[in-house]
Point group: C2
Chain length 229, copies 2
Amino acid sequence: MKHHSRTTAVLFDIDGTLIDSNYLQVQAWSEAFDAVGQPVDDARIHRAIALDSSKLLDTLLGDRATELGDDAKARHRTAYQALSGRLRPFSGARNLLAAVAAHRVAVVLATSAPEDELKLLRTALDAEQYLTAVTSAEDAETAKPDPDILQTALGKVGAAAGDAVMVGDTVWDGQAAARAGVAFVGLRSGGMAEAELRTAGAAAVYDDPAHLLANVDSSPLASLWATTN
Amino acid sequence: MKHHSRTTAVLFDIDGTLIDSNYLQVQAWSEAFDAVGQPVDDARIHRAIALDSSKLLDTLLGDRATELGDDAKARHRTAYQALSGRLRPFSGARNLLAAVAAHRVAVVLATSAPEDELKLLRTALDAEQYLTAVTSAEDAETAKPDPDILQTALGKVGAAAGDAVMVGDTVWDGQAAARAGVAFVGLRSGGMAEAELRTAGAAAVYDDPAHLLANVDSSPLASLWATTN
């Protein structure tokens, strides 16, 4: 009897999920907003991280986004590049990707980071050998919480929504996963609380990649091992 | 008939409650831990902010705290001083203190910040005329979540625990208030989630000082107006 195995996939957010970058992003945006004369409270910036930059600017600058947005974006870019030497993968991040790949499950980086940031993140992550596919800001018209990025990620590897799990650290990841019909696993490594991630639909919440890796066979990811093998 | 009015007080945490400083603290500690060769995830640092520095070092460096703690502390101090130009009071912070003072309720800054940081914070806050008393690291042997700082703050103005409300942004503030028998009001301005602050005992949670000020007469602070007047 022949088994027809289906393509399964884990879609990983990067910022705050695999790389410890959220607080550097807060700092870079905070400096940018100060510089354009429209300071924004850091906790508000933190909650907007993972939105694409135009949504983030609309959320945080309101009706001044049109006037100040381009300047803020340019200043953020400069500030973030200056901080990029501090980008560091979370403990266990690479090994988690290796473990998923070893189960013959596609590993997809599903992010809407702009190309220049994505390059920095992939260099810091140093895990190209485990990746089946990668998305970026150029792959979808609208970013999280819209489901486009996740649908693009699924399309790139030919997996159905029900044969995939999204791993992310923000409520926006959870909302995008829900809209795409993909199960969501939340990590607290980006600074969000378990309760927030649960409210955003997380089926399970772990501290960070190392904690998920240590419990991976009892996690929602293990349902994919069963499907593939 | 003569009314004997009692002394009532609002005990305010400063970092993340009145001044937008938590994320600058995360950055300064993060740089310090990198520099001593023991990087710590930013979200873990964030959750330890508001502990005094020896508790924070024990929490984040574990058994390497003795060996690396003094060096990390010195590097944090340098990094934080360099960032101090970015310290900014939250919108509504000064007006909130003014409103409390106008109700003849004592305004106490109840913090365990070291003297050098406290000076930076008070300069940024620029609200000396509303303050009845201030605590600092030198006023108590143990910091939040122990209740010592709050008990010192109450003692300085002669208020009973039941005639005071603590306003803070961290679970450590909430735990200290609970142990001191003081009602706790949580603000999300330091980056903690409402659910975390509720779990730590918050009777009410507001976004930031401006949000509390807009709702102050229906907040737990209003119980103090009634007692005083």
